[in-house]
Amino acid sequence: MSDMDKRFELTVSLSFADNPNLRVLQLAHQLEESLQQVLKEYGAITAYFVAPQEAEAEIEVGLRFEGIGAKYIREMADEVLKKSMDRIASSSGSVFEATREESTLIPA
């Protein structure tokens, strides 16, 4: 089975530790709404999740990819996350510094 026939799940942890006044739950909600809009442009991403982790000031984002080579996933995920954060910034007027702490890519 080629990469194109496989499904992959990428889980990314975004850290907002450098934003002391951040409300993680609220941002996670905004990120989910923004992600829903951005994902309309990406047919290869068929499922997602957004899981806030308040204690660590982190948000875990999951993206499921289908019909795309594994080597392009990271690039596409970065693009999707950047677009989503940009949408939040333009709609709320506040810019949040997100650090990509870690990620895991596995076949689904």
Binding site: S15, Y48, I73, R74, I106, P107
Partner: protein
């Protein structure tokens, strides 16, 4: 043919048991002789001599028939153990050579990198071989690893895993313990601060046998490209065969203790787009 075989086995049984049988009979006869009381040196004298003769025969059988002797067998056992250990080490060395070439092939053979092979045995992973150009990363580490821990567990469950981990050591330790199943305090003891990991399950004819793990202290160095290069290599096919067939002969698997550890299922958070 069957008669000849039976005779051989009868002879082996006699040879194996003659000495003990004669000694036991000598003891029994000596006890009977004791029962004669005051007449033991008159009426019972023949019983006394029977016991002495049986005792003597036991000694003769022991010396004449018990070949090889107990001392010989002990020496042979020691030699066989040593030969077995030498062969096990030779197998481990061959695996190390193989993974060194694989690291080269996958462009992950720099001072920052390491490759390890693990065998799945009794609900845990046993490290079969490890290679790194950096001597600090070459140590065997914990030797055995519970299922469901780190990238090894992820790759075992999902067939492959590519992970990136935090750059700060404090966050790295926290992440390993919080997200990757490491027990409290374990992460801080790990020498290599791997920031990128690519791991793949080793399987032969559909049966999973172990996991190969590429790690690097540099972000994005071990990646999906590493696993793609691995899949294309004939050396990897040879490694899979070797792991599946000879792993049980390697020293670490032989020493592995039993441990019950299961990977914990994660809650389903996914939403369809």
């Amino acid at each position: 043919m069957r008669v000849a075989e039976s005779l051989v086995w009868l002879w082996r049984a006699c040879k194996g048991w003659a000495s003990q049988t004669a000694a036991t009979l000598a003891t029994v006869v000596a006890l009977i002789w004791g029962g004669f009381g005051a007449t033991q040196w008159t009426e019972g004298i023949w019983v006394f001599w029977t016991a002495v003769i049986l005792g003597f025969l036991s000694l003769v059988f022991q010396i004449a028939l018990q070949r090889p002797t107990y001392m010989d067998l002990s020496r042979r056992e020691e030699k066989a153990g040593q030969e077995s250990a030498d062969k096990s080490e030779a197998i481990e060395r061959s695996l190390t050579v193989l993974i060194r070439y694989l690291a080269d092939h996958c462009s992950l053979a720099a001072n920052s990198d390491r490759v390890s092979v693990y065998y799945h045995h009794d609900k845990q992973f046993v490290m079969l071989a490890r290679w790194s150009q950096n001597p600090n990363f070459n140590s065997p580490g914990r030797g055995t690893y519970p299922v469901g821990q780190g990238a090894i567990g992820d790759a075992w469950d999902a067939s492959s895993a590519v992970a990136e981990l935090p750059g700060s050591r404090a966050r790295w330790n926290q992440s390993l313990e919080k997200n990757h199943g490491f027990p409290q305090g374990t992460a801080a003891t790990i020498t290599m601060h791997s920031q990128s990991i690519a791991a793949q399950r080793i399987a032969i004819n559909g049966a999973a046998a172990g996991v190969i793990v590429f790690e690097s202290t540099i972000k994005q160095r071990a990646s999906q490209d590493t696993l793609d290069a691995l899949d294309d290599s004939k050396l990897y096919a040879a490694l899979c065969e070797l792991v599946a067939t000879v792993a049980m002969l390697t020293p670490r698997v032989q020493e592995a203790a039993r441990e019950d550890a299961q990977s914990e299922p994660r809650p389903n958070l996914w939403r369809e787009v």
